[in-house]
């Protein structure tokens, strides 16, 4: 039990502390493109919103990080937000959320 606990704590730590660290520079560049171009088709290239809501640091600040990652991975039922789990790992989604919370800059 304690071993399971420490393992899951460890993996949680890894997830939060090292999100994106394991991603190659090429993959990060791809994900950045995906953010701007594909997320941007609904949320706006500058993330000021469109069919989907704005994804600016100010609009994401009060939302729990894990909830945002869940939203990316699972989508939002009854809205146009699709689940990205078929195309992204959780780690990748976490990295993208962190980029958005910092404010998008060029890779």
């Amino acid at each position: 039990m304690s071993r399971w606990l420490s393992a899951s704590v460890l993996s949680l730590l890894c997830m939060t502390a090292f999100s994106g660290e394991t991603l190659s520079p090429q993959r990060r560049a791809q994900l950045h493109d995906l953010l701007v171009q594909d997320c941007g088709s609904c949320h706006g290239l500058t993330m000021h919103g469109g069919l989907g809501p704005a994804l600016l640091p100010a609009s994401l600040r009060d939302k729990p990080r894990e909830l945002l990652i869940d939203t990316v991975m699972n989508g939002r039922p009854d809205t146009a937000m699709p689940p990205w789990a078929p195309l992204l790992s959780r780690d990748e989604a976490a990295w993208m959320i962190d980029q958005l919370r910092k404010g998008l800059t060029s890779p």
Binding site: D38, S41, P82
Partner: protein
Amino acid sequence: MKALRFHPALLLILSLAIVVNVRADALRGSGDLALVVERASGTVQIVETSGNTSLCRVDGLGDLSHASAVFSRDQRYAFVFGRDGGLSKVDMLTCKLVARTLQAGNSIGGAISQNGRLVAVSNYEPGGVRVFDSATLEPVADIPATWGENQTSKVIGLVDAPGQRFVFSLWDAGETWVADMHDPAHPSITKFTGIGRNPYDGLITPDGRYYIAGLFGEDGLALIDLWNTDAGVKRILPDYGKGEEKLPVYKMPHLEGWAIAGRQAFVPAVGRHEVLVIDMDTWQLAGKIPVHGQPVFVMARPDGRQVWVNFAVPDNDTVQVIDTQTLKLVKTLQPGKGVLHMEFEPRGEQVWVSVRDLDQLQVYDTETFEKLVTLPAQKPSGIFTTARAMRTGL
């Protein structure tokens, strides 16, 4: 030897002819021009389709994600609708931005009226339609998309219709509105409610008779006969995906342009790897054509013999061509990652394809499917030929 001697009047005529000739060289028509949206840099490129070359670039158009354009009937001016609410008027002959207004916070598209005097923009924020004088871009009318209890809806699928009308749909409200603009400052609105959940785009048939809204929130499309508006909304293809699992939709399909061949119309199936075929006599489903991915644009070549299809992420490196007689795929092309749009030349012998991730425009022969020309462009998306100026709904 007799000296050459000209009558003064002849000299005058000769010199005038030279002047006229020089001016004729500098002049050009605009019927073969096209505007290409370069969405990340806020620029548009003006190209010509006679020799397939780039002419110039205009900058300062703001956030052009999901930008589109309509044209003045003289085919000289383009009205470009940007995501940031910017409405820009571009002189394609002098290559200048001649007017621009930031008319809303967030917008999605627009239309030009039948008489060419009004330009309407559909907005997400504030939800509604705003109408401008096409000569000056001065505001003429404001139509807030209010519904329910003081809610406003995002507006999509705005088109022009005969009878000085604009037709558009309300994403949040599930309504279609027809605005009669005979008195431009006081539009007369006819509302169709309960058309279905989340209309995502609308189109009008080339004759301007039928308006169709595609539904995202449920299967099917909503049809309005603009010759008989009293008949209300007819739901068509209500169960085209019945019993099937819908795939995640990574890019909203578009209904711009009505892909018609004979009495059949071709539309993208939402959340499915299919193009739907509608029999326009009965408005029944006439077939489903399996394709490479989820269709975004389903565009008919002007003669209707072929339909070209591009796809949503992650299949957006591919374009497929359907033969409309056999309803079979005849060609699969791979222009490269990020195929965002296709536009036929006015009579359809060539097609322009924007390939975002390669920063390229590619021009294909639609008979041989040979790639004829590649031109550089910065993250190109929409391509719009001035031939659209003469067509209802485009």
